[in-house]
Each structure stands twice: as structure tokens, then as C-alpha cells.
């Protein structure tokens, strides 16, 4: 067993960290969030130039063939800096679905994601099925696609959608251009400053040629995407928790009340120790999950489910304590600290919340 990152992985971390510290300060981030739903085309171009958009793709598709460990490294750093760019929606989620397909359309789409010229979102959630992601109503009949997808991440900027639909009772994933007749997008900002949307498909003509995968492969692709996406946002939460406790320690050392730094008060010290411990045990479980997923271990899905449940609890505790220890400053939108709490809340809600994953874990 070896639980150390490779030199290459450490270099990747350094690179992301350096970028965040110099080009993605909290002030910069806030401007992007306020003006443009969390996405800045120039930042995205930088991601492309740095090669980050190619990270998880196979070499034959023009990628670096990196796996879950490298993605987790990137997301941990993104989590610390509250990066709002649609990396999850494009590179991880759409990337995972496209990479699982071997057809030419998937390959072409991947190359455009890598060079940053297109954005793609997976449209799988629906309004009434909660976390039962395979229980879908969107369907295809006589070559026409009908249905409504909701909470589609980054819907505002997606040039096309990977639509999870039923053909009779068989699952299928289509690639549908956002400009196709009958496609309409209704965008909303999300609580954490990104965007999601409802995507409605009304008699949209789709042919064989736009199928990315079908039958068992399609549902497998969705499951694999969910596992990888959950792993990535858990890594992001670990980064966010680390930043939260570090910033809180810093703040309490500087904030004086009763003639002394409030970090002198033992009850606050213990709270910060709890925050630190939650971040560390979460990181431990993240290690196990990413190594299992990397090794294609049969248990990986179960561990990821456990990780997601753990993160739901830990990140909530850490996020709330961070706000509490900042006093009024904690609830002020100007400080970064409350934004971690918001991101944690969204992370828990995405792809099965804690309650869902506790059930899932005990049934797997």
C-alpha cells in the first residue's frame, strides 16, 4: 500500500493552487458569480490552455488519461478557492458519459470539450423523481424526444445536452444540440452562485446518429457518472472544510473580545478541533473511495455512497461552526466563510443527499 501522491499529482496540485491564489481570489470569484452565473469564458480558456479540460480523457481521445485521484486533487483545490466554473458539469459528468461511449460522435464532442470550444451538460434529473435517477419520464417515440429535465447543471452555457431518456422501456442517451428546434432552456442561479436550468424537449427530432449509448450501457454510464461526480464534489467539500477551519482559526486569532483574541476561549478551541477532525476523517474516507474507484474495485460504489453520507454530515457541521465562530461576520455575504456553507449545502443536495446515501449504503 502507498498513500502518498505521486510527483506528477503533487505538481498538478501545485499548479491548481497557484492558479487559484493568483488568478482566482475571492474578489475575482465574486465578480464572476455576480455578473455571469459563475462562468468566465477567459477563465475557461485558461483551464483549456493549462490542459485541465483534458485531464480525465483517454489518450486516444486526446486526453491525459488521468483518473479519479487526479480529479480529486483538482477538486480539493477548487473547493478551497470556491471555484464556480462548470468543470464538474463538462469535464467530469459529460466527460464520463462520453468517454464510456466508443462512437464517433462522442469522440468529436470530447475533442471540443478539451479545446474549450463547446460545453455539454448531462440532462438526467426530473421534477418528480427525486433521487431515483433511473425512474424517468422523458421518452422517445417515432423519432421524437419529449420531456422536461430539471436541475441541469450549467444549463445556461451548455451548447448541447446528453439527455437520459427512455425508448419504450429501454434507457438511451442522446446528444441534443441546445439550438435544435423544440429545445428550450430556463435558467436559474443556484444558491451557491452557479447556475442550473430546466431543459424542455418538445417533439425534438432525434435520429440514430445522435445516440451516445443505449440499453444497459446507458444506465451504466449514468451510474458511473454519478459515482465519479460524487467523488469529485466530496473532494471539493474536503477542500472547503480544510479552508473553513483554517480561516476560522485565523479569524479567531485576530478577533478580540473581552480584551483578548477569542481563540483563547476553550469552547471555541474545542469547536475548531472538531472542525479539523471532521475535515481529516472525511479526507481519509475520500482516500479510500478514490483509490477503490481508481482500482475499479467492486466495493467502490458502496464506499462512495458512504463518503457522500459522511461528507453530508461533516461539511454541514464544519460549515455551520465556521459561520458561528465568525459571529455576525459569518452571515455576511462579503466574507468568503458563508459561501463555503452554501457550497456544502449544494454538495449534499446533489446526486443523493445524506439521507439517501445512508439508505443506499446499508442496502448495497
Amino acid at each position: 500500500m502507498n498513500l502518498s501522491y505521486s510527483d506528477e499529482q503533487n505538481m498538478l496540485r501545485e499548479q491548481v493552487l497557484k492558479f487559484c491564489e493568483s488568478d482566482y481570489t475571492f474578489d475575482v470569484r465574486e465578480k464572476i458569480v455576480e455578473s455571469n452565473y459563475g462562468h468566465n469564458p477567459e477563465t475557461w480558456k485558461q483551464f483549456a490552455d493549462l490542459g485541465w479540460l483534458a485531464v480525465p480523457f483517454s489518450e486516444e481521445n486526446g486526453g491525459f488519461n488521468f483518473g479519479p485521484i487526479e480529479l480529486a486533487v483538482i477538486f480539493e483545490e477548487f473547493g478551497k478557492a470556491l471555484v464556480a466554473e462548470p468543470y464538474l458539469a463538462n469535464v467530469v459528468m459529460s466527460g464520463s458519459v462520453l468517454e464510456s461511449s466508443s462512437n464517433e460522435l462522442a469522440k468529436q464532442t470530447i475533442s471540443k470539450i478539451i479545446d474549450g470550444t463547446t460545453q455539454v451538460s448531462v440532462a438526467f434529473s426530473e421534477a418528480n423523481n427525486g433521487y431515483n435517477f433511473h425512474d424517468i419520464e422523458t421518452s422517445i417515440e417515432d423519432g421524437k424526444l419529449n420531456g422536461v429535465k430539471t436541475v441541469v447543471l450549467n444549463a445556461s452555457f451548455a451548447n448541447s445536452f446528453l439527455v437520459y431518456a427512455r425508448n419504450g422501456d429501454k434507457p438511451v442517451i442522446y446528444l441534443v444540440d441546445a439550438k435544435e428546434a423544440g429545445v428550450s432552456v430556463n435558467s436559474f442561479s443556484t444558491v451557491d452562485g452557479q447556475n442550473c436550468g430546466d431543459v424542455t424537449f418538445e417533439n425534438v427530432e432525434v435520429g440514430e446518429s445522435s445516440i451516445i449509448s443505449h440499453d444497459n450501457d446507458a444506465s451504466q454510464a449514468i451510474n458511473a457518472m454519478l459515482d465519479l461526480a460524487n467523488l469529485c464534489i466530496c473532494a471539493e467539500a474536503v477542500g472547503g472544510m480544510t479552508a473553513s477551519y483554517l480561516k476560522t482559526v485565523q479569524y479567531t486569532k485576530e478577533r478580540e473580545q473581552f480584551g483578548q483574541p477569542i481563540s483563547n476561549f476553550q469552547v471555541l478551541q474545542h469547536k475548531m478541533v472538531d472542525m479539523f477532525m471532521e475535515a481529516e476523517v472525511s479526507k481519509s474516507l475520500l482516500f479510500k473511495a478514490m483509490l477503490q474507484l481508481d482500482g475499479k474495485d467492486d466495493e467502490a460504489s458502496k464506499t462512495i455512497s458512504g463518503l457522500k453520507a459522511q461528507i453530508g454530515k461533516s461539511s454541514r457541521q464544519v460549515g455551520q461552526a465556521a459561520v458561528q465562530l465568525h459571529g455576525g461576520m459569518g452571515v455576511s455575504d462579503e466574507m468568503s466563510i458563508g459561501h463555503y456553507l452554501k457550497r456544502f449545502t449544494v454538495i449534499d443536495a446533489l446526486f443523493g443527499n445524506r439521507n439517501y446515501h445512508l439508505n443506499n449504503f446499508s442496502n448495497l
Binding site: V323, D333, L341
Partner: protein
């Protein structure tokens, strides 16, 4: 001991129900029940309707225009209002500065301020906290220097709730630098229209504008606006804080929200959430009876003291837990969030829980404040440890 209400109490309850049915302004009711934000005018209309009913001073003595109700009646009143999902009665005038004025103010001050407070002609805000003085309130630095028949006030207050709407602010100011920092503090009433006052919004993490910074530059305040004695402000402030903590738990509102949550989750397969709701409800019952026991002690001549800290801590913890369960019940549908005002009615997300979800998020984030303000929960625990446990 008797757990039942008397016939007179039941009759009183009916009166409150009648008010809610017939006099509680319809436009306010509608917005409240749709979860829409209220305007300043809506709040004024609501408070004025209570005044017209003779109930604005629901916890004031009769001699100052209050109802003189017994603690049980106050309890019933608040319970019915909570069940009807009415807006929170703004505490700044009625529960804070009002009682300070009728307890410590002089006759002129009583005449000048109390009727307008009851009638809700003046909107008050609370100027205690400062950037450097939160938990350690007594360290406050905003200075008031006597100059003939005026004070000249300089300094800044922060987190001032709804100062953007306020006509008046009651402030703790430093009139003297003393060895013991509590001793140089005075309690001053300031007209918000006075030259030299500037209000700047602070946006909170739910996106709302509820709190503000208030800056004072050479603000001239008539000396007659000083309450009680110079240097005794801390005593009045402590009196007020004990009152402020009372009722902060919002048990009736929690019961209303609980009912909605149960309706929403009735058909959920999620047993864990149901158990959590039950666990919460049991604690709410315990809190309610803690409050009732305190009220009974009050009726027998006690006054709210450190016990109100228990209610503050437990009440706010439970409120926060309730908001967490709302978020859990909404699942992934919490993501679309356009701010505390909710969705534009012709543009809501395609989920049958979209309004519920949006309010869930808004409240979850907003209610983080409850364990911070009114004396943070850590400070409350310090108080209990000292005052009750004697450690």
C-alpha cells in the same frame, strides 16, 4: 397543577381567532401564506391592525396603554398568531425600547414616545453592536459628548436590523471613560433623520438586506433624549436583553412550520427523515413546557433571568434544525435559488416543490443568525454556567 385552560382562557382564544379571521389584513395574510416577502407598508399595516384591536401592547401594563394580560393570555395570543403564520411582531419598539422607556424614562419621554410605539407610527431599531463590540458589548466606543443641551455623537453601529426602515434608533453610547467599562455607558434615543447619520446595507448569505451599518458623524442629539441617568445605560441594556431573549424561541411559529413539513413529507419513503422530525417534535414539546414553566414562575412574581437563556439556546437550535429538515426534504430541488424574494411567478423551476425549496434554502441560511444574535449561544452558556450552575 392543571394542564387545561380555564373557560375564560378558551373564550379569550376565540377572540384572538376572531381577530385573525376578520381583522388581520388580508393582503398580509395572503403574502405570508405564499411565502412572499412583506414590504415596509405591509408590516406597518399589520402592526396597526393589532393596535386598532387594542393588542399592540400585548405584554405592556395597562397604565401605559397595554393589555395587562396574564402570562397565560400572552401565551395563547402568541400561539394563535403563530398557528396563523402571522409575521413576527417587530420587537424593537414594543418589546425593547418601549419597556425601557416606561420603566426608566421620565414622564415627558413616556408621553412623547410610548403612544407612537403602540400605534406603530415610529419604526425603531437597536443600536447596540459595533464592529469592535459584539459579544463584549460593554467595550463599545460610540461616543456621546455633552455640549450644552445636546450630545454630539460619533462612531458606528453594525448589524442594525431594519435600520433602513427606521425612524428612530436606541443606542448605547459611551459618555465617559471609566475604570469599569460598564459604568460609562448611557442609553440614548436618536432620530434617524438627524444630520450626520448614514445607513449602509449589509447583505447576508441568503441574499437579503436585513441588517446595516449605521455611521454617526457629529450627530447632534437633544439631551432630553437620554433615558434615565447618564452612566446607567448598562443596567437598562441588561434589563432589555432579558426581555429580548424571551419569545425568541418562536415555538408557535415552529409548530406551524412543522405542520407544513409533515404535510410535505407525508408520502416520503424516507423513514430517517420521519424519525428526525419526530425527534425534533419531542424536543419542541419539551421547549414549550420549559417556556410555560418560566411563565408560571413569572406569574408568581418572578422575573425572566438566566432561564430565558435556556429558551434562547434550545429555541434557536430547534429553529435551525427545522430549517435543516426542510432542506433535506427538498433534496436536489434546492439548487435553483433566485434570492429571498423567491421566483418570479412566471418563471419557476419545473418541480412541484420549487417554492417550498426556495423558502427552505432562504430560511436555512437566514436562521444561522439566530444562534449569533441576541447574545450568541456560547455567551448564553457562559451566563447559565455562571448564574445557575455557579461555576
Amino acid at each position: 397543577m392543571d394542564i387545561n385552560f380555564s373557560d375564560a382562557d378558551n373564550q379569550f382564544r376565540q377572540e384572538v381567532k376572531d381577530y385573525l379571521e376578520n381583522k388581520y389584513p388580508k393582503h398580509v395574510k395572503e403574502k405570508q401564506n405564499n411565502g412572499e416577502q412583506l414590504t415596509k407598508q405591509d408590516m406597518i399595516d399589520y402592526h396597526k391592525s393589532l393596535y386598532e384591536q387594542g393588542w399592540a401592547g400585548y405584554n405592556w401594563p395597562v397604565e401605559y396603554g397595554g393589555t395587562g394580560w396574564s402570562p397565560t393570555q400572552i401565551y395563547i395570543f402568541q400561539e394563535e398568531l403563530g398557528y396563523a403564520n402571522t409575521p413576527t411582531i417587530l420587537p424593537f419598539g414594543l418589546n425593547m425600547v418601549g419597556p425601557v422607556i416606561y420603566t426608566f424614562g421620565n414622564e415627558e419621554q413616556k408621553k412623547k414616545f410610548l403612544p407612537d410605539i403602540l400605534e406603530f407610527n415610529t419604526w425603531w431599531c437597536q443600536g447596540y453592536s459595533e464592529p469592535g463590540s459584539g459579544s463584549d458589548l460593554a467595550s463599545l466606543k460610540t461616543k456621546a459628548v455633552r455640549d450644552g443641551d445636546h450630545y454630539i455623537v460619533n462612531g458606528s453601529k453594525t448589524w442594525t436590523t431594519l435600520a433602513q426602515n427606521a425612524d428612530w434608533i436606541f443606542c448605547l453610547v459611551r459618555t465617559e471613560t471609566t475604570q469599569k467599562k460598564q459604568e460609562g455607558i448611557s442609553f440614548l434615543l436618536i432620530d434617524m433623520k438627524t444630520e450626520g447619520i448614514e445607513v449602509k446595507p449589509i447583505i447576508t448569505i441568503d441574499g437579503d438586506h436585513e441588517v446595516n451599518s449605521v455611521f454617526f458623524t457629529d450627530v447632534k442629539v437633544p439631551a432630553e433624549n437620554l433615558i434615565g441617568e447618564e452612566g446607567k445605560g448598562w443596567t437598562y441594556a441588561k434589563f432589555l436583553l432579558a426581555h429580548e431573549r424571551f419569545g425568541i424561541a418562536g415555538v408557535p411559529n415552529q409548530k406551524y412550520s412543522l405542520k407544513l413539513l409533515k404535510e410535505r413529507t407525508k408520502d416520503f419513503a424516507d423513514d430517517d427523515l420521519k424519525k428526525k422530525i419526530a425527534d425534533y417534535e419531542i424536543e419542541l414539546l419539551a421547549l414549550e413546557f420549559t417556556e410555560l414553566r418560566t411563565l408560571a414562575a413569572l406569574a408568581n412574581g418572578g422575573h425572566p433571568g438566566a432561564e430565558s437563556s435556556i429558551i434562547k439556546i434550545k429555541g434557536t437550535e430547534l429553529q435551525q434544525r427545522l430549517t435543516e429538515m426542510y432542506v433535506e426534504a427538498a433534496g436536489q430541488y434546492i439548487l435553483p435559488y433566485e434570492g429571498p424574494e423567491g421566483f418570479n411567478s412566471n418563471n419557476t423551476p419545473a418541480s412541484n416543490v420549487s417554492d417550498f425549496s426556495s423558502q427552505a434554502v432562504s430560511r436555512y441560511l437566514n436562521f444561522r443568525k439566530t444562534s449569533i444574535y441576541g447574545g450568541s449561544n456560547e455567551i448564553q452558556k457562559n451566563i447559565i454556567a455562571k448564574a445557575i450552575l455557579g461555576v
